[in-house]
């Protein structure tokens, strides 16, 4: 009976007894979820355009953040460093298209997938050669961002909102919304969907595959830069940031590999779900549930919707 009480009653009693902590958990989950959504968005953009799971998305986050901080540490003013980093991400997108993707048009998806492994290891080596492996501090103040927190007294307790987290949520939301509109309402967006359906069919109606790939890899690079800035501000900028890309996998399973709204909804469900699970149910199993609980959520959803929350329904002739 005790175990049943601990699972089904006690967590809700705790929520009622300390509603401020419940709100704090929700907020932390929301912030984490938006950042997961941002990482997932990078994967979704490239998957939509090429049907390829971009293994290099994690290292692109590191590379973008290191370029920004590296330039700043070298004495380049913060906003100029930001502009140069954006240019570097464009150059990367252009190079990837020219050197890696173009020669592989119409090759099986697995070949393109393996090519993204190559991009990953090249960027790891190149990044370490240029920037070294030492951790670097993200100069958030130089971007006009404030550290510290708003401590709000509410519900008989305190809810602490980190100023950086608030900005992260706003920027991530704006970016997700902007990219969503861009890719669903513009000619380029429609072209992107055509490319995703069939490379050769898209080429036959005059869509420039090269141009679309550069655009989506550049968009994924921008997403990586924003992700790197905010994750880097939460910790340090180092190659450890690459690991956070793994957090996007359950988000993608849940939201579907082709849906921008799916990435957002998936990110939020995973973010809030894992924080609530760790905080209220984690102690029952010795903690550490946030390492695997996201996958449990995703797998449960998969039982009912194998294509993910917003993924396209799979209909195939048999």
């Amino acid at each position: 009976m005790d175990i049943l009480y601990s699972i089904f009653i006690d967590p809700f009693v705790q929520m009622a007894q300390a509603p401020d902590l419940f709100v704090q958990t929700l907020w932390d989950g929301l912030v984490g979820g938006m950042l997961y959504a941002l990482i997932a968005l990078g994967f979704v953009l490239i998957f939509k355009a090429s049907g390829v799971f971009n293994f290099a998305q994690g290292i692109m986050v590191v590379f973008a953040a290191l370029t920004l901080v590296g330039l700043h540490d070298a004495g380049v003013p913060a906003f100029l460093a930001l502009l140069i980093t954006i240019a570097v991400m464009f150059a990367l997108a252009f190079t990837v298209e020219r050197v890696v993707l173009r020669p592989l048009v119409n090759q099986p998806d697995i070949i393109l997938f393996m090519a993204t492994f190559g991009i990953t290891y090249f960027l790891i080596g190149f990044g370490e050669y240029v920037f070294g492996g030492d951790p670097k501090v993200m100069p958030v103040e130089d971007f006009g961002l404030e550290k510290g927190a708003y401590n709000i007294k509410m519900l008989g307790g305190l809810v602490s909102l980190q100023k950086l987290d608030i900005v992260a949520v706003i920027v991530a939301s704006a970016m997700v919304a902007g990219l969503g509109v861009f890719f669903s309402k513009t000619r380029i967006g429609r072209a992107l969907r055509a490319v995703a359906d069939s490379h050769s069919a898209a080429l036959s109606v005059g869509i420039s595959l090269e141009q679309i790939w550069v655009i989506v890899w550049f968009a994924a690079g921008l997403v990586a830069l924003v992700t790197g800035i905010f994750w880097g501000a939460r910790s340090d900028v180092s190659f450890a940031l690459e690991v956070i890309a793994l957090k996007a996998l359950p988000v993608l399973i849940l939201g579907g590999f082709t849906s921008i709204p799916g990435a957002i909804a998936g990110g939020l469900i995973i973010g809030v779900g894992e924080k609530l699970a760790e905080f209220y149910w984690g102690p029952l199993v010795g903690g550490g549930t946030d390492a695997w609980f996201a996958y449990v959520i995703a797998l449960v959803f998969l039982l009912f919707r194998p294509q993910g929350l917003f993924g396209e329904k799979i209909i195939e002739r048999i």
Binding site: D134, R234, S235, F239
Partner: protein, 444 residues
């Protein structure tokens, strides 16, 4: 010239160069010291300064003294990325080159290598990390973990907390939170923590942090806010450390009640937290700063001559000096081995004897150019491969680490019986574990 001929030519040149390099590594006129390091990957922020410290001290001995006992040291790094598989690959790649000693610099790698050490006759120096039970020399003659085991470290922290609370008896009813990297390293001290909790009547709250959660930790620190432990103890590594320090300060946890083990107290661990991290405490057993003659020699003979990879502003940082400490032990073990065997070029079997006879007094530290750099290391014997030496507490003042205590001795009476039990359990479980046959030398 045809392309094919060019490719064949390059391939042949590569083969010849590899053969020359390999034969050089195995040359009988130098002492081969492989260094397992990680300058890449998620744990590079901890690995780089240690790698620099180890490399630079040994290079300085080559440059200043012509090596050890007139024999040059052949120092070669093998990149593990803190990955156990790569660590084992490094072992396999160096074992045929007559290595004097291996420093795995990872508890996970150490655990994998322990059964190989006696077979390949290569001693393992897991300096203040690895398997605590390996301190029992009769069961683990090839493994050394001076100057103290993780269990010693934990007992020092509990002693320090007890002192601050007005005595160990005052710990009754208090809560100590333990945030740790959820890997072999972080789980290692938990049995002792639970035992001490029983002995002194305090409660323990565990907060595991998975490797891929290192840079988040919001759930763990929210739980800390709920549980309100009186003290927090950390066994972190790599990116986990600076993130934890930041989260603790963001959550308003009193930083002077937050204590890291010696692997959670580098400059980079606290630097990111800046002023907000002021008060954070960590154990340390190696010296702070560059005000030691031997460290100045490293600067003169290695750093200033461009033979080091260390960034100028990170020279003699906490973990850099920790790397230096590690290789001082290696160098002393090699000297001992030369004296014991009468040979100039020593190999693993000789250096195992050198490690077992390590004896560094305060006077010897001074003689080596490190006056006051570390506590005496005089407790190592054939039976005790750790020495169970003390460590001191350092505190972050917002800009740098400051020493804030004298040496805290471990609770040897608590640790030793558990070590013996754990060693016995390990040996019983490992079918066919070899009985010690190695003779015992007198301390040098």
């Amino acid at each position: 010239m045809k392309v094919r001929q060019v490719i064949m030519g390059v391939a042949c040149a590569g083969l010849v160069a590899t053969a020359i390099y390999a034969s050089k590594a195995q040359a009988a006129d130098d002492i081969y010291v492989p260094l397992f390091t990680y300058r890449t990957g998620p744990y590079a922020n901890s690995g780089i300064p240690i790698a620099n410290g180890m490399h630079d001290y040994l290079t300085m001995l080559n440059e200043r003294d012509g090596g050890i006992g007139g024999v040059k040291l052949n120092v070669e790094e093998c990149e593990t990325g803190y990955d156990t598989k790569k660590g084992v690959e490094c072992w396999e790649s160096v074992k045929s080159k007559n290595p004097t000693v291996v420093n795995p610099f990872s508890t996970g790698i150490t655990l994998q290598l322990i059964p190989k050490a006696s077979v390949d006759k290569i001693p393992i120096l897991s300096m203040a990390y690895g398997l605590s039970a390996a301190a029992v020399g009769k069961d683990f003659p090839w493994v050394f973990n001076p100057p103290a085991t993780y269990w010693d470290g934990l007992s020092m922290i509990i002693k320090y907390i007890g002192e601050k609370e007005g005595g160990l008896a005052k710990l009754k009813g208090k809560t100590i939170g333990y945030i740790f990297l959820d890997a072999g390293y972080g789980r290692e001290p938990i049995p002792l923590l639970e035992q001490l909790a029983k002995d002194y009547g305090f409660n323990v709250k565990l907060y595991p942090v998975a490797g891929k959660e290192m840079q988040d930790q919001s759930s763990q620190w929210l739980s800390v806010r709920r549980d309100r432990p009186n003290w927090m103890v950390m066994w972190g590594w790599g990116a986990m450390n600076p993130t934890a320090v930041k989260r603790a300060s963001e959550n308003g946890y009193p930083m002077d009640h937050f204590i890291g083990v010696w692997w959670s107290g580098s400059d980079d661990d606290a630097r990111g937290g800046g002023k907000a991290a002021k008060g954070y405490l960590a154990l340390n057993f190696s010296g702070l700063g560059s005000n030691y003659p031997a460290i100045q020699d490293i600067k003169k003979y290695v750093v200033d001559k461009g033979k080091s990879q260390v960034e100028k502003d990170k020279f003699a940082d906490t973990f850099y000096n920790r790397g230096v400490y590690n290789t001082v032990l290696v160098a002393e073990a090699i000297r001992n081995a030369q004296k014991l065997t009468g040979k100039k070029v020593v190999v693993g079997e000789d250096v195992r004897r050198g490690l077992e006879t390590l004896h560094i007094t305060e006077a010897r530290w001074k003689e080596l150019g490190f006056p006051g750099f570390a506590g005496p290391l005089t407790g190592i014997s054939c039976a005790d491969h750790s020495g169970h030496q003390g460590a001191y507490m350092q505190q972050w003042d917002g800009d740098k680490w400051v020493k804030v205590s004298n040496l805290i001795e471990p609770m040897k009476d608590k640790v030793e019986p558990l070590l013996q039990d754990a060693a016995k359990e390990y040996v019983d479980k490992a079918t066919g574990w070899p009985k010690r046959t190695e003779a015992c030398d007198k301390a040098m």
